[in-house]
């Protein structure tokens, strides 16, 4: 597999997002190719989640361009992006609490990129949610809600999946299983943008990382190179150096 040779699926160019004077994103540019897993790393408040929020249509960018499959997508509403094949999970899972687990996934399957009902059961099975299919999503524990977020995103048939801190709070065995799954999604051609604090998880999952600090990219390359980079070490020292 040599994803470098393919055309980028997602291209972010000089992206800017300001919150009343605070520059959350200050000229961020990167590309993700089909089947590639790109890690978005950086200290708290460096702009990782803001970046995902802009790409998935929650925020309008104040400058720059987001291109998906060669078409500009910045400013498109989330439901249009979902139908184009851009989807995400949320840092704090946001299921539809009063709907059953199956209905949660069904909504996404009906409105997403591809239509189909058979897939819902397969998804529930593969994310170990099948036993709870008829229970309200509110009854799930937080790890299961994270999996439901993932199932819902996958049910829309995404080509780009942004995963916002999926690993936080999961046990070691759960982490390993999630890592395997993310790799399997990439293997099927989905591009992944993974925001994560757990460096072990990032190292296991990603092909490449982009390190953000204060809304700017300070490093791009593999995680192994990143931890030898002077500026990256500076930014992380004293905060997550121990990891």
């Amino acid at each position: 597999m040599s994803p470098e040779k393919e055309a980028p699926l997602l291209a972010v160019e000089a992206l800017e997002k300001r919150f009343s004077g605070f520059r959350a994103l200050d000229g961020v540019s990167f590309e993700v190719r089909p089947g590639e897993i790109l890690g978005l790393v950086g200290p708290n408040g460096s702009g990782k989640t803001t970046c995902i929020n802009v790409i998935t249509g929650l925020y309008r960018p104040d400058g720059g361009k987001v291109t998906f499959e060669g078409h500009p997508i910045n400013g498109l509403p989330s439901h249009r992006l979902a139908r184009l094949g851009v989807n995400r999970t949320f840092q704090v899972p946001r299921p539809f609490p009063s709907l059953t687990v199956r209905e949660n996934v069904a909504v996404a399957a009906y409105h997403g990129r591809r239509a189909g009902g058979a897939e819902i059961e397969t998804l529930l099975l593969s994310l170990e949610l099948d036993a709870y299919a008829d229970k309200p999503a509110a009854d799930l524990n937080s790890a299961q809600q994270k999996m439901l977020d993932l199932a819902r995103a996958l049910a829309t048939g995404p080509r780009l999946l942004c995963v916002d801190e999926l690993a936080a709070g999961l046990s070691r065995t759960e982490l390993e299983r999630v890592a395997l799954r993310l790799r399997a999604f990439a293997g099927s051609g989905i591009a992944l943008l993974v925001v994560e604090h757990l460096m072990g998880f990032i190292g296991e999952v990603t092909d490449r990382v982009v390190v953000l600090n204060a809304g700017k990219i300070i490093f791009e390359g593999t995680l192994a190179e990143a931890i030898r980079d002077r500026r990256v070490v500076e930014v992380f020292l004293g905060t997550e150096h121990a990891v």
């Binding site: 998935t56 249509g57 929650l58 509403p77 989330s78 439901h79 979902a82 139908r83 989807n87 995400r88 949320f90 946001r94 299921p95 539809f96 609490p97 009063s98 709907l99 209905e103 949660n104 069904a106 909504v107 996404a108 009906y110 409105h111 997403g112 990129r113 819902r152 995103a153 049910a155 829309t156």
Partner: protein, 306 residues
Amino acid sequence: MLRGVRDSLVVVVPLTAAAALLPFAYSNELLLFNFIVFLVLAQGVNVIYGFTGYLPFGYVGFFGTGAYGFSLAVIHLHLFPLVALGLGAAAAVLLALLLTPLFRLSGAYFAIASFAAAFAVYEVVSNPHLDAITKGPYGISLSQIYNPQLSYGVAVVILAVTLGVTVYLKNSRFGLSLRSIRDDSLSAAMAGVNVVRARTLAWLISALIAGLIGGVFAWYVSVFYPETVFGAEFSVFAIVFALFGGVATVSGPVLGVIFLYGIYNVIGISAPQYFQLIYGLLIMGLVLFLPGGVVPLLRRWGIDVP
């Protein structure tokens, strides 16, 4: 699909049949008519509140607009009542379209703003300077088209259609998208649901229902004042009935109307002070112990209620 058929057989058919046949056995037709009006209004509240989470405190605005739209079409355009009914309903839908910016608000703010909007319509309609058009505060008289049998029959049809709409919403993909929006509009958008369009559609359907029954109300009573058809108690009753039974269900609002409006008619008129006491206690008990209404409770007991 199967559930839709079952819900229709359990709720829509018997209720419609009862509404159509009871006048032959029971002489107080006005009371039966009022039951139909509240059954329809409670389901209308169910459509917008139960399925999208927006509480329309000013729901009566659509009812009054339907009543006045109908009456003015009869008075000024001399239209047949059934055609005028269409115009009344169209007026209510138009008002709903004008009010769509209210969806920028949420929770109590939306409830209060919709109440203010209904009040504004009432103030315009009852303005003495508009006497020539709306008859101002002096009220409407439609003696020329008075026809209790036909208007009652049309009300029964509207009841059947409205119940059909809730059965559809409860069992369809569209209803599922609406419920997903109610739970989390951001997640719904990310799941691919066109939130603005779905919510607007539900709002317009809800206004259409109130506009239709408002028009029929005007036709049936044929003499009324602005405060009759814009009275806040229509909103309050419809909302309380719907909440009591349980929203986002088919049978909840029906149970609410039959039980609470039943109590109202049994003791509300003969012993108003006891009625108010019992009503107050019931509503407090509901809010404290059964915020989801009666139907979720029945379901928890294992009774499969539509």
